[in-house]
Amino acid sequence: MSEPIQPGRPQTEVETGSRMQRLFDLRYVIGALLGVYGVILVVRGLLDGPEELARAAGLSINLWTGVGLLVVAAIFLAWGLTRPLGIDVEENID
């Protein structure tokens, strides 16, 4: 599992981290967290009374932040679904 390391020489073969990437797709994590935040804020924003509005200079900031978060979450989830890991187009090196 672990490759021998040659002391004092630059490691030319470091091909291990792809395991990290295969464990989970970061796009889903971003989408999920921001999505949950978005839903919570939208619900909170719909319940906001005059006190909350006055505090934020009359702006329904919870609602709008929630909507913004949901949009970003949707973009990441859509990106993850349409371009799953592993079929990334090969890039040119040099």
Partner: protein, 553 residues
């Protein structure tokens, strides 16, 4: 006055974030089997991940709180830290220097110096970097402790220790992989807190034109709204207190190029990209958010200045500049967004400390232990060493945090450190990469004398022997001195000593073919789609920066 009253919902949002970040750490642990997994995270990440981690690593609590403080103290001219002091250097890194780093296959920035100049320069740079890392990690810890103290009433010492423990668990599990994934997540949460804050802040003072009028009427005056007005040589009236020459050369050239192109905490993110093209795009992708971040740091600073009585006036019992963002969060955000902003502050703290700790453990393990102090051990030894260094670094950072408590403006303190440590390294790298004649002794003598020159200017200014006008101007001159001394000494000593052996140059110096026959040049990777072309991305970032500088001149 700063105390918040977060509701259960705010704490839920914060707790949710910790669950996800610690979850990443725990899952990432399954990917850690070797020291390379823990310390390098492989070279497999896509450019958007490394790019956002690159910008988030610099988006620590010090950056957010410090830049809002600068916004209140110096006005719009604070944009120089972004548009002059970051973007050109990031573009230069992506297009000119990254190909050399990536091709050399080094695991750290000090390791490049080892290949090029030999052991003395390597040890000097590795030790200086390790010391700077724990100092800066300490500053980040202190920044969060102030926030916890002010917002939630935690004693500062408790805040420092608890925050340090969280970051220790998180990096100790998954290493660089979880640090980078966490940073990308942090990037979004930080912005999700800061963008609503900036919008509400502007609205609370009656919109942009009312904000501008009131800043003009404030202590900053008309020039507080301009980046370049009043920065003439010999006639500095801009609140930033430095003329345009020292801004362009000191901050723009020496200080920022030193930081962005040689700071391993940043370069490490680009080195973990999956190929050369992705590594080049890492700082270029990072440049775009970097261009826009001042909107969410400087604007709250300006609003705090005009909306909070006696802001920045200690004598009259007002709040400190560093309180700008925490104070506005408390005054303006209702339950809900308040929790997001609080989480964003935690996240930004973690981004900063995680970056410092995850680069510190790599340098100590691969640049000090493996080649010198504990040669030829098993890989398991180095993996465990990396974990212990992580723990040790966090403990030392706690003590540094107590030291940082003596400085009024965190950012000036940080800039002082960067001026001493980073400015000379950039000179050494540029000469090493592009001038074949640079010898091992030249590199060593130049770097050492550069660090000493920077430290000397810092000490003289602290002692009051020289006066450059403001703390910021002092850090510019200090960086300039370090850079110039490094260049002069490196060139002089290189010419006086023997030419470097050819194997020190092969494949890592411009125009000298490597063992594989590839000649390092600045030819850019061929990409078919426009958003993957490094030169195009870099050009776009620079063009946008020029336009913004003209608009806010």
């Amino acid at each position: 006055m700063l105390r918040l009253n977060p509701g259960w919902l705010d704490y839920t949002l914060l707790a949710l974030y910790f669950v996800v970040v610690l979850g990443i750490g725990v899952v990432a642990r399954r990917a850690v089997g070797t020291s390379a997994d823990f310390l390098l995270a492989g070279r497999s990440l896509p450019a958007w991940v490394t790019g956002l981690a690159f910008v988030a690593a610099n988006l620590g609590a010090t950056e957010i709180i410090g830049m809002a403080a600068n916004g209140a103290e110096y006005g719009v001219a604070t944009v120089h830290y972004y548009w002059i002091g970051a973007v050109p250097a990031m573009v230069f890194l992506g297009i000119v220097m990254m190909p050399f780093y990536y091709r050399s296959k080094v695991r750290s920035v000090p390791e490049f110096l080892r290949l090029r100049f030999g052991n003395y320069t390597h040890v000097l740079n590795a030790v200086v970097f390790a010391v700077a890392s724990v100092l800066i990690a300490g500053v980040n810890l202190y920044a969060l402790a102030i926030v916890l103290n002010a917002l939630l009433g935690w004693p500062e010492f408790l805040g420092i220790v608890v925050s340090a423990a969280v970051v220790l668990v998180y990096i100790g599990f998954g290493g660089l992989g979880s640090a980078i994934y966490g940073e990308v997540l942090q990037f979004f949460v930080i912005l999700a807190g800061l963008i609503p804050l900036a919008i509400v802040a502007v609205r609370s003072v009656g919109g942009f034109s009312a904000l501008a009028d009131r800043v003009t009427a404030s202590a900053l005056g008309e020039e507080g709204l301009h980046a370049w007005q009043g920065t003439g040589v010999g006639d500095v009236t801009n609140p930033i207190g430095a003329n345009w020459v020292s801004i362009v050369l000191g901050l723009g050239f020496v200080l920022s190029f030193g930081y962005w192109t040689t700071n391993f905490a940043e370069i490490q993110r680009a080195l973990s990209a999956k190929d050369r093209s992705a590594s080049q795009r890492t700082p270029l992708i990072a440049a775009f958010p970097k261009i826009l971040i001042p909107a969410v740091t400087i604007i709250p600073g300006l609003v705090a200045l005009i909306a909070i009585p006696n802001f920045g006036n200690d004598a009259a019992g007002g709040l400190e500049y560093n309180d700008a963002i925490p104070a506005l969060i408390g005054q303006l955000l209702p339950e809900g967004v308040l929790g997001i902003a609080l989480t964003g502050l935690f996240a930004s703290f973690m981004a900063g400390v995680a970056a410092n700790v995850s680069s510190l453990n790599t340098v100590v393990t691969y640049d000090l232990l493996q080649p010198y102090l504990a040669k030829g051990r098993s890989d398991r030894y180095y993996l465990n060493a990396g974990r212990w260094v992580t723990a040790g670094g966090v403990v030392i950072a706690i003590f540094t945090a107590l030291l940082a408590a003596d400085f009024n403006n965190i950012m000036t303190y940080l800039q002082s450190l960067f001026g001493i440590f980073n400015a000379p390294i950039f000179a050494t790298f540029i000469l090493g990469m592009f001038w074949k004649r640079t010898s091992g002794w030249g590199g060593f003598a130049g770097l050492l004398s550069g660090v000493l020159a920077g430290a000397l200017v810092f000490v003289l200014a602290e002692a009051g022997a020289v006066d450059f006008g403001s703390g910021i101007a002092t850090s510019f001159y200090q960086a300039g001195a370090a850079f110039l001394v490094d260049v002069v000494i490196t060139v002089a000593v290189s010419l006086a000593t023997a030419k470097p052996e050819p194997e020190r140059l092969a494949g890592i110096v411009y125009g000298v073919p490597g063992a594989d026959g590839v000649v390092p040049t600045l030819r850019q990777p061929k990409e078919r789609v426009w958003y993957r072309k490094p030169v195009l991305l870099g050009g776009l970032a620079l063009a946008l920066t020029v336009v913004l500088n003209i608009v806010f001149a």
